[in-house]
């Protein structure tokens, strides 16, 4: 588990020798001396000696939790604490001088492992193997292994000890349901070492299963020490867990007794075996990683669209047998195309009215003619059916509009359309151009190359945009005259009627060209009707200056006027208004001049490219006719492309006219060419729209915010924001409601107090009035006060009445003050309550929020715990079923039956004993009878017989005693069995409760079961021995009987021969 971390090794104690240092260097491991250690370092290993207190080392560096492996370079006496604290490698450094030692290092640091001996130890020269399926039947194979070891100068005893103990450990694993069978035992010899390797499949093997088996030898619980014995029996022992294949590999290695020994003490490697805590920690880390990853992926997904398209919902599968059935994408494209095309060609008609002929016509315009050729009648019908459905056509129309809208904003796409249009036009024109046309074009070009190019607005003012002042009118015309396409510097205004000024400017511009050359009617018309008065005056003066009349002016005169005089005139009536911003309405440039210029430049550039340094004449002498034609076509194509590209299509008529003029083609032909090209470009655009219609939106599309999905994203975001605002508002509303309620309560209380105080005041007032009325009227009282003030005397009665009246007033004032105080108190109280309620509400809100967070966390935690518990329960279930199976198969299950059989046997034996006893008694009495008349010889024999009989009786009594013992033993066994059964039930209960509390059982429970099984086996053996003994008694009784019979026969014989 630590393999992903860079090696950071703490050299805690002991000397690191050169071989090990070299190896660590090759791993690029960083070795930190103890002095250089700082807390927080993520150690992977600690190198130490074998004499450490591993418990304190483990606590100090948290070796288990942080999976820091301890390497001991000396003898380790306390295996359990070494292993429990993540001690994984005990090794004699001298061994690293051997190839085998380096192999071990690779295994330890790089986790290399295999289940095959020859792969684990490549230097293996010869060997053999056997399979163990029954541990009671390995003697023969063990003998063969011993012979092999012996023949290779190996330690037979050590090898046998190792294999025996290892196999028993593995059988414990099998009994616990952790290990599987068969065990494969491979052994071999490298020439210097004997190696025995055992592997088996295991399930969920953890270090705890191993730790418990490295204890001190114990008579009661062999599982506690089996691996310790294994480790102590080998020069090097390796415990390797291959998690990917769920295999456990135990390997023992012994160096030859003769030869150099590089392993001077028992070495041990425990590789890739992790404790439950380490596994859990790793799982948690993986879980965290997975969670983070999932969160990242979710975040990524948020920016992605779902597969498929809403349009597919309104487009059910093709249910016919035509071509479209197997081409659903084409079907969708055709439907979209037809709807789009229909909208374009029949904007005012519903597509539901489409006829089959119209549909066929539309489809023939589809950009992939090959696909259309494959269509069958059913396909056309299918497309018609689809487009006629209102929901389909509407959905498609909306989508097409959306996509087209987004494409209009796509500058690159629009530019590519323009380029394509120019390409197409240029291609067609250059293809249709014959040699004569070309020659003429060249000729015309040569002749016209020197024509001065005059740009409206006057020379040197190319960058100016002019506003020309005309006559004052309400609709002051504002027209920008663009002299060049460069950025404007300033704006000027031409004032005048819009139409006239427009025409004027236009015609002046055109007049400078060749269209109006010599066409006086045109000029006259221009000057007379369109030019503003000032211009007309200047022109007349110009004509006079030239010594001519206005109508005699030639086109060259006009041109001269335009060049030299017009700009001056313009200056006179032009005012500059820099603050004025003119809309971007540009008069068309003069394509004719531009075309000439472009063609000339292109031709010159090409000729220079072909014949660098040559003049045009020299070059034309060198070029062949074929090359010339090719060159001219190329130049023509480029020029046309450029001129078309500079005309964005807003004035198609002008373009057609220009091209027609220069290329000497009819306008109709040029128009056809241009329209054809536009059609083709339209097809490309439609194709792009349709393609985009069904393609998922790109990331940039989302970012740009032009696509519907981006809009949806914004909408969703807005919705979320609204939802959040709504929630806030809802909270506020609730708070306000509470506040309102509190205020209402307070108001009610206030009202009550108010009413109460008013009542009190009223009552008092009434009382006062009554009293006053009874004691002293107001005017009298005032009179008395005035009298007193002016020093007059009043009679004592009046004085008394006044005194009472004043006292009463004082009382009323007191009462009023008290009432006021009460109101103030109530107000204060209300404020306090309000503040208290607000605080309480705030507290409640905070509590709710924190509870929500806690609940959410608890939910997450519970989900994790549930998953974990489910797994644990499932594992425990498996263990329980395995254990129950094992218990059912164990001798316990058969014990009762065996006991019954033994009981029966015992009873039959008792009966037999009784029979023999009776027999002996009768035989003795017979002998006594016979003996009364016998001779001394016979007496002797009788004595012998009697003695024999007595012996037999003693033997019988002993047998009976044994039987009694046996019986009591059996009873004890039964009791023990009962106890074991109870134990079993208790164990089952414990297991069940363990499931509920999901605590680990594993090896402990297995061990306990094993313990019980062992006891049962022992009992069974005892019973068998008792039976055997009883059998022996039976035999001796039979022998006795035979002897008695023999003696009886002899006696009888003796009796008959006195």
């Amino acid at each position: 588990m630590s393999t992903n971390r860079p090696y950071l090794i703490l050299h805690h104690a002991g000397d690191i020798q050169d071989e090990l240092q070299e190896y660590l260097d090759s791993l690029q491991a960083k070795v930190v001396e103890l002095d250089g250690y700082e807390s927080g370092m993520e150690l992977t290993h600690i190198i130490t000696t074998g004499e450490q207190d591993y418990n304190s080392l483990g606590r100090m560096f948290n070796t288990v939790e942080d999976d820091i492996k301890i390497v001991a370079l000396g003898v380790v006496k306390d295996y359990p604490s070494f292993i429990a604290n993540n001690g994984r490698f005990i090794v004699d450094q001298k061994w690293f001088s051997d190839q085998m030692g380096k192999v071990a290092l690779d295994k330890f640091f790089k986790g290399q492992a295999s289940v095959h001996l020859d792969e684990n130890f490549p230097s293996m020269k010869e060997g053999s193997s056997f399979k163990v399926t029954n541990h009671l039947r390995i003697g023969n194979d063990m003998d063969r292994l011993s012979a092999f070891v012996h023949s290779h100068d190996g330690s037979v005893v050590n090898v046998r000890t190792y294999v025996d103990h290892a196999l028993y450990y593995l059988f414990y694993l099998k009994q616990a349901g952790i290990g599987g069978a068969p065990f494969e035992v491979d052994y071999g010899h490298t020439g210097h070492e004997t190696i025995v390797q055992i592997h088996l499949p295991v399930k969920n093997y953890v270090a705890e299963y191993l730790l418990d088996s490295f204890g001190e030898p114990n008579g009661q619980d062999p599982l506690r020490y089996l691996l310790a014995i294994c480790a102590q029996s080998t020069d090097y022992m390796e415990v390797q867990y291959i998690q990917s294949a769920s295999k456990l590999v135990l390997t023992g290695l012994w160096q030859n007794k003769k030869g150099v020994r590089t392993l001077r003490f028992g070495s041990l490697l425990i590789n890739q075996v992790f404790t439950t805590a380490q596994i859990e920690r790793n799982i948690e880390q993986q879980l965290m990683l997975a969670k983070t990853k999932t969160a990242e992926e979710l975040e990524e997904l948020n920016n992605k669209s779902l597969p498929g398209h809403l349009l597919e919902m309104v487009m059910p599968e093709t249910g016919h047998d035509g071509y479209l059935k197997d081409h659903p994408d084409l079907a969708k494209n055709l439907v979209a195309f037809a709807i789009d095309k229909w909208k374009e060609t029949n904007p005012d008609q519903d597509i539901a009215q489409v006829t089959e002929t119209q549909m066929m016509d539309m489809l023939t315009d589809y950009f992939d003619a090959g696909e259309i050729a494959n269509l069958q009648e059913v396909d056309v019908q299918h497309v018609m059916d689809r487009v006629r459905k209102n929901n389909v056509s509407q959905a498609y129309e909306q989508e097409i509009d959306r996509v087209r809208g987004s494409l209009k904003d796509d500058e690159k796409f629009q530019q590519s359309l323009k380029d394509t249009f120019a390409d197409k036009v240029a291609e067609k024109i250059s293809g249709d151009f014959d040699e004569a046309n070309m020659a003429e074009l060249i000729k015309g070009t040569q002749a016209e190359l020197d024509v001065p190019v005059v740009v409206s607005g006057g020379a040197g003012e190319g960058d100016a945009a002019i506003m020309v002042k005309g006559k004052k009118a309400k609709d002051d015309m504002i027209q920008k005259i663009s002299g060049s396409i460069d950025s404007e510097i300033e704006s000027q205004m031409i004032k005048g009627s819009k139409i006239k000024t427009d025409d004027f400017v236009m015609r002046i511009s055109q007049g400078i060209g060749d269209q109006v050359k010599g066409d006086w009617k045109y000029k006259s018309n221009l000057v007379d009707t369109l030019a503003p008065k000032k211009v007309q005056d200047h022109l007349t003066r110009f004509a006079t200056k030239m010594g001519q009349t206005l109508d005699k002016l030639t086109s060259s005169d006009l041109q001269l006027f335009a060049q030299s005089e017009l700009p001056k005139i313009m200056d006179e009536f032009v005012t500059v208004d820099e603050s004025f911003v003119i809309p971007e309405t540009v008069l068309p440039e003069l394509p004719d001049y531009k075309f000439q210029s472009i063609f000339k430049n292109e031709l010159q550039a090409k000729m220079q490219q072909l014949y660098p340094g040559k003049s045009a004449d020299e070059a034309s002498g060198l070029i062949t006719p074929e090359e010339q034609e090719k060159l001219l076509r190329e130049v023509l194509k480029t020029s046309v492309k450029k001129i078309v590209a500079s005309n964005p299509g807003t004035d198609e008529a002008a373009l057609i006219k220009t091209l027609s003029h220069y290329l000497k083609g009819s306008e109709a032909d040029i128009k056809t060419i241009i329209s054809g090209s536009r059609e083709e470009v339209k097809k490309i655009e439609s194709a792009q729209v349709i393609e985009k219609l069904f393609s998922p939106p790109t990331q940039s599309g989302n970012e740009g915010g032009n696509s519907g999905d981006a809009a949806n994203g914004i909408l969703i975001q807005r919705l979320r924001q609204l939802e959040s605002e709504f929630n806030t508002a809802k909270g506020q509303l609730e708070a306000a409601n509470t506040e309102l309620k509190v205020l209402k309560d307070a108001r009610n209380q206030m009202h009550k107090i108010d009413v109460k105080s008013k009542d009190a005041v009223n009552a008092m007032m009434a009382q006062e009035s009554e009293a006053d009325a009874a004691l002293l009227p107001m005017n009298q009282k005032m009179q008395m006060i005035q009298d007193l003030a002016s020093g007059k005397e009043i009679n004592p009665e009046d004085a008394q009445r006044l005194k009472e009246a004043l006292e009463r007033e004082q009382q009323i004032l007191q009462a009023a003050k008290q009432a006021e105080l009460d109101i103030k108190k109530a107000k204060l109280e209300m404020q306090q309550k309000e503040s208290f309620f607000a605080q309480e509400i705030e507290k409640a809100n905070r509590a709710l929020k924190s509870r929500d967070i806690v609940v959410q966390k608890a939910k997450d935690g519970l989900a994790l715990m549930m998953a974990k518990k489910d797994k644990e329960i499932s594992d425990l279930n498996i263990k329980v079923s395995t254990m129950v199976g094992a218990m059912n198969n164990s001798p316990q299950a058969n014990n009762a039956q065996k006991l019954r059989a033994l009981e029966q046997e015992k009873q039959s034996m008792s009966r037999l004993v009784e029979v023999y006893k009776n027999k002996l008694t009768s035989m003795a009495s017979n002998m006594e009878k016979q003996g009364s008349s016998s001779s001394p010889k016979k007496d002797e024999e009788v004595r012998k017989i009697t003695m024999d009989k007595q012996r037999a009786e003693v033997a019988l009594q002993a047998a009976q005693k044994d039987l009694t013992k046996l019986k009591s033993r059996m009873e004890l066994d039964q009791a023990e069995t009962q106890r074991l059964r109870a134990e079993k039930s208790r164990l089952e209960e414990a297991l069940k409760s363990a499931i509920s509390t999901s605590g680990p059982i594993g090896a402990q429970a297995s061990a306990k079961t094993e313990d019980q099984s062992g006891k049962l086996k022992k009992l069974e053996l005892d019973l068998a021995m008792e039976s055997q003994r009883a059998g022996k008694y039976e035999i001796s009784i039979k022998e006795l009987e035979a002897k008695v019979a023999e003696l009886t026969g002899a006696l009888a014989k003796a009796g008959s021969n006195p």
Partner: protein, 346 residues
């Protein structure tokens, strides 16, 4: 690979070649030791069962009373009986020396018997295995009723798996018995409504090139269900076996072989595309047996009616790259060539 058939397996017999079959004799057979015929009233001879076919009890009861049953023996019952006795003798030997002697004797008898000049055919060995390990009659019947080729394969694959186990050093009769039983289940996933001849050919093709089975099905326009059955049959079989056998086995790990019998060591197999470089011999035994036995009926019958070398040569002619069985192959090759001694590591 070798497709040549050494002997024609069956041709219509003449009356002289057939023997009368008594009803009482028929009732005792669970597997037909030869081809069974019925002579009709019109004198025609109809073949009822082939040698090795499973004879369901109702069927036996039905034909028990017939006086017109004939048969042509194929299985050498005496040799089968000798093999069975020899195996039992070995397993019952208590003394280690006797045990070794009996084991060597049995292994030698088997090895020499199955060689071309030994006279023992694979069908005889299949009968001996059936008698020794008693396969699950219900499953066997299901195989035969659903698809006879799968049944015939089961007969050969299971006995071959035992043979490979013996040659690889697995001598515990309980282990051998379970190997035999589990081997029958290798094709259990194919007992399915969607099974077709094409699926069996796909299994065949897959042996020769990874991914070939799937491709073959698609090339031949197999249905989605057929493709799914082919790709999932190891899992189907495994799940069925778990349900049916799982709790009865002493070595339930063996069942994993059903799931993995189409896996390769380089991850090109299915259903999990595992990399199986760390498999033990016992885990690859059944994979190898399954790979050795053909799905094509004529080849399969040829292998059943010959000794081991016909089968072995056919297998050797195939590429086995990617199959993690080279250790078993080496051990088996060694066993075939040499008198039985302890099999050394390759």
């Amino acid at each position: 690979m070798s497709n040549s058939i050494t002997n024609p397996i069956w041709s219509p017999p003449t009356l002289g070649e057939l023997q009368n079959l008594e009803g009482e004799q028929l009732v005792q057979w669970e597997l037909a030791p030869g081809d069974l015929y019925l002579k009709t009233n019109s004198g025609k001879i109809l073949r009822l069962k082939r040698a090795g076919d499973f004879l369901e009890l109702p069927w036996r009861e039905k034909f028990k009373a017939s006086k017109n049953l004939l048969w042509k023996p194929f299985v050498q019952t005496d040799k089968v009986s000798d093999l069975v006795k020899s195996f039992q003798h070995w397993q019952q030997a208590q003394d280690p020396v006797d045990y070794e002697l009996a084991k060597n004797q049995f292994m030698e008898n088997l090895r020499l018997g199955l060689r071309p000049d030994g006279g023992l055919k694979m069908i005889d060995w299949s009968f001996a295995c059936r008698e020794l390990f008693k396969s699950d009659s219900q499953l066997v019947e299901e195989f035969q009723n659903k698809h006879v080729v799968l049944y015939r394969r089961g007969l050969l694959v299971s006995s071959l798996a035992v043979l490979l186990s013996l040659a690889s050093g697995y001598h515990d009769p309980r282990f051998l018995k379970e190997i035999y039983h589990v081997s029958w289940w290798l094709d259990a996933g194919l007992i399915h409504d969607d099974f077709s001849y094409w699926v069996s050919l796909a299994c065949q093709e897959e042996r020769w090139r990874p991914g070939g089975g799937d491709a073959l099905l698609k090339e031949n326009g197999a249905s989605e269900k057929e493709v799914n059955l082919f790709l999932e049959h190891p899992r189907f079989g495994y799940e069925k076996a778990i349900e049916s056998l799982g709790k009865k086995l002493e070595y339930p790990e063996l069942l994993m072989s059903i799931l993995r019998h189409h896996e390769k060591s380089d991850g090109t197999g299915f259903p999990e595309g595992m990399s199986l470089s760390v498999m033990s011999d016992w885990e690859t035994l059944m994979m190898m047996a399954d790979n050795m036995v053909d799905y094509r009926e004529e080849v399969l019958e040829d292998h059943l009616h010959n000794g081991i070398l016909t089968l072995w040569k056919a297998f050797q002619a195939r590429p086995i790259e990617g199959l993690p069985v080279h250790r078993i192959v080496e051990k088996f090759r060694f066993w075939l060539r040499h008198p039985h001694v302890e099999v050394l590591s390759a």
